[in-house]
């Protein structure tokens, strides 16, 4: 009896709410119909269709990898490539994904080397099977050793140093570098790079899976460290949250960032954020797939045994206007 009642209530709500909804359209914002931008548009390569697996260490739901994936998809569309995207943040399981791809007999593997030692065995198998490998994003120092043709990525340490340089020339003395995932090598390297150029840099760890905790912890840090004059977020969503912390703490610290999304680009245009270092993730995805296609097409090897750097590129108020449009498309 009580069940029926509850079901009825739910059913009633299910009917009434959308009915109400029809009369409650928003006058602004929301989805623009047919806004989806199918990238590419150019002619498709006439080469035979090949299979490529893109295997990353992305945690589910990370915006950064969305852009990498979009780049890879666009390259696949142009190069007549069947792209398979897989990811697992845990090194051992990422290696298993690589082995699965080898078992499937793909024509090329693009892989991130966040944990090179975990992947070494799997990549050896790929080499033995004659499958070309391109690495991207992380692990440029181990890429050649593990048998990859080339590497597309930005050196995290270099990127950090670029930020540090820029901050130092603008006269900032006391940055706080906010790491959203404790024990993440790439993120640690970024902060280390900043610290190399601005010695008084402090690192703050926050729990990236909970934005409210990110906000309150950064607020706490700013209350404790009055000397802080700039806060650096290591990912676009985190930087945007840090902006809230700063207004919450009543601090006059400035904000700098790594990575990019449309909202962040807008904030740079508006002058709320100093600049961001873009490692151009779209290019990493695009380049990796394209390099595999080039290898298939003519045995080309890009980069001459050296990593191909996709960054760091600093986007500040001057250049942001132009980047913004691309960021809205999800390309930057």
């Amino acid at each position: 009896m009580s069940h029926k009642l509850s079901w009825r209530k739910l059913a009633a709500a299910a009917v009434v709410v959308p009915a109400l909804a029809l009369t409650a359209c928003s006058s602004s914002g929301g989805r623009t119909p047919e806004a989806a931008n199918e990238g590419g548009g150019g002619a498709i390569a006439s080469t035979e269709r090949i299979n490529v697996a893109l295997i990353t260490h992305a945690a589910p739901g990370d915006t950064f990898w969305d852009i990498v994936r979009k780049g890879a998809e666009e390259a696949s569309a142009k190069d007549n490539v069947e792209l398979q995207y897989l990811s697992d943040p845990e090194g051992g399981r990422q290696a298993q994904l690589v082995e699965q791809a080898i078992d499937q007999g793909v024509d090329g593997i693009a892989v991130t080397l966040a944990k090179p030692d975990a992947l070494a065995g799997a990549l050896k198998k790929a080499e033995d099977a004659g499958i070309p490998v391109v690495s991207l994003n992380a692990g440029e120092d181990r890429s050649a050793e593990l048998g990859a043709i080339t590497h597309f990525g930005s050196n995290e340490k270099l990127a950090g140093e670029a930020v540090g340089d820029r901050l130092a020339t603008e006269g900032y003395k006391h940055p706080i570098c906010v790491i959203q995932e404790q024990g993440h090598v790439g993120l640690e390297n970024r902060c280390a790079g900043v610290k190399a150029k601005v010695p008084d840099t402090e690192v703050l760890y926050v729990q990236g899976t909970d934005m409210t905790q990110v906000e309150s912890t950064v607020t706490a840090k700013l209350q404790a460290t009055k000397a802080a004059d700039v806060v650096i977020g290591l990912g676009a969503p985190f930087t945007l949250t840090i902006l809230k912390s700063i207004s919450g703490a009543g601090s006059d610290a400035k904000v700098a960032s790594f990575d990019m999304n449309a909202e962040l680009a807008q904030k740079i245009v508006d002058g709320e954020i100093l600049f961001t270092v873009d490692q151009q993730p779209w290019l990493q995805g695009y380049g990796a797939v394209d390099a595999l296609w080039l290898n298939k097409r003519g045995g080309f090897e890009i980069g001459g045994g050296q990593p191909v750097l996709t960054g760091p590129t600093i986007v500040d108020q001057k250049s942001a206007e132009q980047v913004l449009q691309f960021a809205e498309e999800g390309v930057r």
Binding site: S6, L10, V17, A24, S26, G30, R31, T219, Q223, A224
Partner: protein
């Protein structure tokens, strides 16, 4: 019947209970002592900790755990578990955000729909639990995984990305933000509204628990559901209701997340379910049910907030934070165990 009572039966072994031991018998006492000790400790090592603004920050950090801990505490007293709470918060926020955005509607429509969905998820959790008699650990673990997948899958399918599009320029956003994510200025200190929502929810939950029939039923359902059923307590309704209460808390926190940040990352929230359970356990709720308090859960959340932010104020290496959290949990559980043994002494 004209019988005089027989000589009173008393057990000479039961000593008289002092007021002190009565106070020590309260479920939240261990947590309270811990909270006071922690507060004094951080106040001593980091003077900035005592600034009104710092306390407001600590309270905000505690409130975003505490709001969920209210529901989770009640549920644990009722003898059940919910592992899906962390992602359920995000599911609720995603639902409101994506629905409003996709159909270009006033965000309040999405907010209402998210409430229906959150209560629905709670209802389904409870209903499956009752129907299958499976442990809530398994049922809600399944819900946790399904919600995680739905969050990621639907967000990409609808919004085309792993985070939702910003809804900050849509109708109703400002009024919703005022309710779920604004700040209140108290004597020059900005205090987040979640702190007040949290306190209100703890008060209501305590009142329900200690002063209403439903509260009695919650204790009984968790303490001994067979006994409760035998004396006419609607155990099924009580448990389903508890899961729905957890859903309500997830909705409140989800709306805060949405209107504070305007966008939601679909992968967020994972792992937070343990923080809520930790808060409830530190606050004196027994994992086996039938014992605990809403205030205890609140104190547990406050301890978490203090430890989390206190480390920042004291400028310590945070590598050790999880270790101390685990230690605290262990100590709290041992204290609870002792309390329970005492209560069950014959």
């Amino acid at each position: 019947m004209t019988m005089t009572a027989t000589a009173p039966v008393t057990d000479e072994r039961v000593g008289k209970k002092s007021t002190l031991s009565k106070i020590l018998g309260r479920p939240e006492i261990g947590a309270l002592v811990g909270a006071v000790a922690l507060f004094i400790f951080f106040a001593a090592v980091a003077p900035v900790f005592l600034q009104p603004a710092s306390i407001a920050t600590v309270l905000y950090g505690a409130s975003t755990i505490g709001i969920m801990a209210v529901g989770v505490s009640l549920l644990m007293i009722g003898g059940e578990f919910d592992l899906s709470t962390g992602v359920a918060v995000i599911s609720s926020a995603l639902m409101a955000s994506l629905f409003s955005w996709y159909f270009s509607m006033n965000v309040w429509v999405g907010v209402a729909l998210a409430l229906v969905m959150s209560l629905g998820v709670g209802f389904i959790n409870g209903w499956i639990l009752i129907k299958t008699q499976l442990p809530s650990f398994i049922v809600t673990l399944a819900t946790f995984l399904m919600l995680t997948g739905l969050n990621l899958g639907l967000t990409r399918a609808i919004g085309g990305s792993v985070s939702t599009p910003s809804i900050s320029n849509m109708d109703g956003f400002d009024s919703a933000k005022a309710i779920f994510a604004s700040s209140v200025n108290i004597a020059g200190v900005e205090v987040k509204i979640t702190v007040f929502i949290w306190i209100a929810m703890v008060a209501v939950a305590s009142w329900i628990l200690l002063r209403t029939r439903v509260g009695n039923w919650i204790f009984a359902s968790g303490g001994d559901s067979n006994a409760a059923r035998a004396v006419g307590v609607p155990v099924v309704k009580t448990k389903i209701g508890l899961f729905m209460a957890v859903g309500f808390c997830a909705w409140v926190l989800g709306m805060h997340n949405l209107f504070a940040f305007a966008t939601v990352q679909s992968g967020e929230g994972i792992g937070n379910e343990f923080l809520y359970i930790i808060a409830a356990v530190i606050g004196g709720c027994l994992l086996t049910g039938g014992y605990g308090s809403a205030i205890g859960g609140a104190i547990g959340a406050f301890i978490f907030g203090m430890a989390n932010k206190g480390i920042v104020y004291a400028e310590w290496n945070p590598d050790w934070f999880k270790f101390f959290l685990g230690l605290m949990l262990l100590l709290a559980t041992i204290v609870n165990l002792v309390v329970k043994r005492r209560a069950e002494q014959k």
